[in-house]
Symmetry: C2
Subunit: 599 residues, 2 copies
């Protein structure tokens, strides 16, 4: 029984879906691989499910190869464990929460650290039971604010998540490295062009963490890399601070003074004004000489809010993603008019860390300042650096305000935008910016979850010791999208052979009995050889069939048509873009050789 | 790399879980196959997941064999389609509902009729596209009031659900029959002892419907069967009403009269009282001569409530499950004191359909009665039957009140208990009652969903025609429980070979090098032959290992121990309960023959 296009549950679409902005989304929907059910929520149609299963299998094989054992947790989870680790609140609106009929709180699992920790606590009790790696391939839920790009960033999606359990830090490092190598194998097998970058741990907590980013111009993650091999997610870039200035040198710097800067409420207008009023002989002032102070409102998970002022060189903006990562789990918003109304001491456009008085500068921002507003500065604002900044009086700025001498901050926050050409923190050269899609993320969680949930085992000395954990995610449905994106052209999909839903499509291009019976027989023969074959038997024009065959992207397209009069069929290689006329008698041999080359 | 018990993520428990009431629950938890996460919500551990995958595979093969195509829907679904079919409200508290971050309503899918209907509407448009059968193996959610028995009745569970789409009733009947045959094959392959019974469609709507019930003393479903082959779920039993009495005969029956029955508020005391006051010469009065009137409160999905009075022979109780099925989607509760207080005309213990006045009986219950309370009667209360029933006056009953002459009801409701020995409705003999677990349910939905959601296709005449559908469920996680229940004894599980998580467990009973190396080599050899083999290499006593091996229930247990001195190992067949000493040299041959006999 061969599969026939006339019966296959697939319909190709001539139009892009209205919300399609990335090629994987466009082609997977147009090819009938997936179908939207709600924002960020998709159904898998037969072709999509076949690709999904193949990718799942690649992942499963590599996980089993590192000794991971498969389990499967529910998606519907009780609140209490997530309360114990504070993730119930930390996750904020990204977590789907619900009540059951008794009013008890549940959530749809975004990841399962808590549950795996409790499971191991439940069943294991001794160091002899460790090390242990467990994994699952399971449906996850995150109520994304901006679900987008089809299955690339969904609200219900399929992930492989695994968790390692060790007694020692060395054990954790080894499990982490095993995963790192397994991920390299998996992404190599999936044919991704990817980088491994240092990452922030975000909501997960923990110490070491790396992301696998598949390079993509449509990626939402920006990362940096240097010629010397440095690579990091922008959120994880830690700017190397300049060396602090010698105290004697600092003391000798010119004293701060007020300059009149009427209307100069932007960095550009400030730079223009200062260059006019107090021109430097050696070089003009630039934005980099100014200290910009950005006022924000933090909202903590418990609902309390707090103002925060960030001081950074005026030629840089605050990077929202770096900021969000830095203040997590708090939420952050710009100060609005109502906020400013509550802090009349803040003069918009003229905010600075100090006020100049007759006896010298007096702290304005910071815990010790007159406002007591929390004040954090960019790492570049080291002691001894001199700045042009707001005087906290309308139409006035201060010039020559020296960090560490004239003002101090409450701490450092590294959230300024990272720019192409910035030096790599490790001195490995200028940074290049690129975009990618996070396809994997590995974390050394350490003991945070085990401590919160009491996972201890007896060590070799018979004493209870807290277990250290790793957590390793890999987006399976997202990987389907990335394979599609890597393997498509302007006519549709072009699956790599080992991930394709079908190996071969036999197109009967014509309705004569000879064409139909030859095509069917050929399809049956190929199918009999173990090649997944579909026969396009539909009563539609050859042109429609050719277009569909290219859109669907099965690796080998066989056309049984007019050539049959000369005893030949046409064999096309969708990936290579080649075609050849093959005598009918040789067709099976040629096709099965083609199909197996990379299989 | 063979699997070792020392590393396998499994821990057997010596104690039953506190909430275990059925053997499958007890043994699956004690054997480390599943683990409870929350009420009715379980995690699958490695051994459980292996059995689950094998059962899934059996189901998938038989579905593919009838031409069904696999898709996969999300569990998180938007409200609107379920609103269109009224199931959003009809499902009541059994449906998990939630909001997303924008406040939009979602549900966790209990079944997917709506989604499949919309999918086919989305992609198909012509009669030429039909027939079609789609299926999925997917996680379902129902907020059961009483989750119980482990995975037997969970709140998150795995189901195969399929849906058929046809233009004609004959097409639907054919798809239904295909499913019926596929289910027979599946349940035969799973080794169930099952019956196929007529069923109510419940929340699904639709016409023909049958349940596959696996016989089990722990089953929650009661069904009846007769020697002549009648079989039905008790909810679906339709009592054959007696023939109505000839009007002339009816008119000639004695007139009703009041009898004093002080304190006779129960059927027993009423029968005693009546036999004393107006003894019948031919036979004493029994409960079957009395008409009991039960007052209930219906709550409709929209929250409105309504009283309902059910009249039935006094020797029968209302069967709660039959009642719930009959009034679905309304919820039903007994009338409480507060309810009675609102209807002072109702005299508890003395309620009847009519009041006797000087001019004869006057309607009391029913739309035309003085109370206007809705009144439905058992099918046995046909016109011409004469009853002893309440007089609606304290301490008084009426005798000789004739249905159709002295009172009428608003309709019939068939919710009295069905009893062992009752005649089968089709005349095929006395009914026997038995218990089972619903493992499959097939429905001819008809056009209800297609109409509600507008699924029409062009027919052969170019006119739009509504599609007719079938819906077919099969509980996969529940099937795991039922396989376990069918295959266990007082020592634990005993899996049939084709569903077992491992084929063979090799137990090294002793710690000598010879025993350990022989056991390991034997395990490796068996594994090399393709038998899933685990080696129990743990440093625990042979007694513990034997007990665990029997509890885990892998079909073949090989013991490498003291016998090795004589060159033999012991081979046990867990299912057959047999054991044999086998020369080490023959062990592989003997074991692989054993393992393949039924494989």
């Amino acid at each position: 029984m061969i599969d026939k296009m006339s019966q296959l549950f697939v319909r190709t679409l001539r139009q892009d879906p209205a919300d399609a902005v990335v090629p994987s989304h466009r082609w997977l929907v147009r090819g009938g691989y997936i179908r939207r059910v709600a924002p960020g929520i998709y159904a898998w149609l037969p072709l999509g499910l076949r690709v999904l299963a193949k990718i799942e299998q690649v992942v499963r094989e590599e996980m089993v190869a590192i000794g991971a054992q498969e389990v499967s947790f529910p998606a519907l989870l009780p609140r209490e464990p997530y309360e114990a680790t504070q993730r119930w609140s930390d996750y904020g609106p990204s977590m789907f929460r619900l009540h059951d009929r008794t009013g008890a709180d549940y959530l749809l699992g975004p990841t399962h650290e808590e549950m795996f920790t409790l499971l191991v606590k439940d069943l294991y009790s001794s160091y002899k039971d460790l090390p242990l790696i467990l994994f699952q391939v399971q449906t996850k839920y995150r109520d994304e604010a901006r679900p987008r790009a089809g299955i690339l960033r969904g609200r219900e999606f399929i992930m492989k998540d695994s968790y390692s359990f060790d007694l020692s830090d060395e054990g954790l490092a080894a499990a982490y490295e095993q995963h790192r190598q397994a991920y390299i194998k998996i992404f190599d097998r999936l044919g991704f062009d990817y980088v491994i970058v240092s990452a922030m741990s975000g909501a997960m907590g923990g110490s070491r963490s790396e992301e696998f980013l598949a390079l993509s111009e449509y990626g939402e993650d920006t990362f940096v890399r240097s010629p010397g091999g440095y690579a990091a997610n922008v959120e994880a870039v830690q700017v190397a601070p300049p060396a602090p200035v010698d105290p004697a040198v600092m003391a000798a710097l010119p004293a701060p003074r007020t300059v009149l800067t009427p209307g100069a409420t932007t960095i550009d207008s400030l730079v223009t004004a200062v260059n006019q009023v107090v021109a430097q002989p050696e070089r003009p002032w630039t934005g980099a000489d100014t200290l910009k102070n950005v006022v924000l409102r933090l909202t903590h998970p418990d609902g309390t809010t707090e103002p925060l002022v960030i001081g950074l060189p005026g030629d840089r903006e605050v990077d929202l993603k770096r900021l969000e990562a830095a203040v997590h789990p708090a939420d952050v918003q710009p100060f609005d008019e109502a906020d400013f109304a509550r802090y009349p001491a803040l003069v918009k456009g003229y905010i600075g860390p100090a006020e100049l008085t007759e006896t010298g500068p007096v702290a304005f921002l910071g815990a010790d300042g007159s406002t007591q507003l929390r004040y954090l500065v960019d790492p570049r604002v080291v002691d001894g650096t001199s700045w042009i900044t707001g005087a906290n009086v309308a139409d006035q700025h201060v010039i020559g305000l020296v960090a560490g001498r004239d003002f101090t901050a409450d701490g450092v926050i590294d959230v300024a935008e990272v720019r192409e050409g910035d030096p790599a923190p490790d001195g490995s050269g200028p940074l290049e910016l690129a975009r990618g899609v996070e396809v994997g993320h590995i974390f050394q969680l350490g003991r945070r979850y085990a401590e919160a949930l009491g996972l201890q085992v007896l060590n070799q000395n018979g004493k209870l010791e807290t277990v250290t954990m790793g957590s390793y995610g890999l987006g399976i449905s997202r990987a389907v999208a990335m394979v599609a994106e890597r393997n498509c052209d302007e006519r549709g999909l072009m699956w790599p052979r080992h991930l394709a839903p079908y190996d071969v499509i036999v197109v009967s291009a014509g309705k004569t009995d000879e064409i139909m019976t030859t095509a069917e027989r050929l399809a049956a023969e190929l199918d009999g050889l173990g090649l997944d074959t579909v026969w396009d038997d539909r009563p539609v024009s050859p042109g429609v069939k050719f277009a569909d065959a290219e859109l669907l992207g099965f690796p080998t397209i066989v056309i049984v048509g007019r050539g049959l009069a000369d005893g030949v069929v046409e064999v096309r290689d969708r990936l290579a873009g080649t075609k050849q006329s093959v005598p009918l008698a040789d067709a099976v041999a040629v096709i099965s050789q083609l199909a197996r080359v990379e299989a």
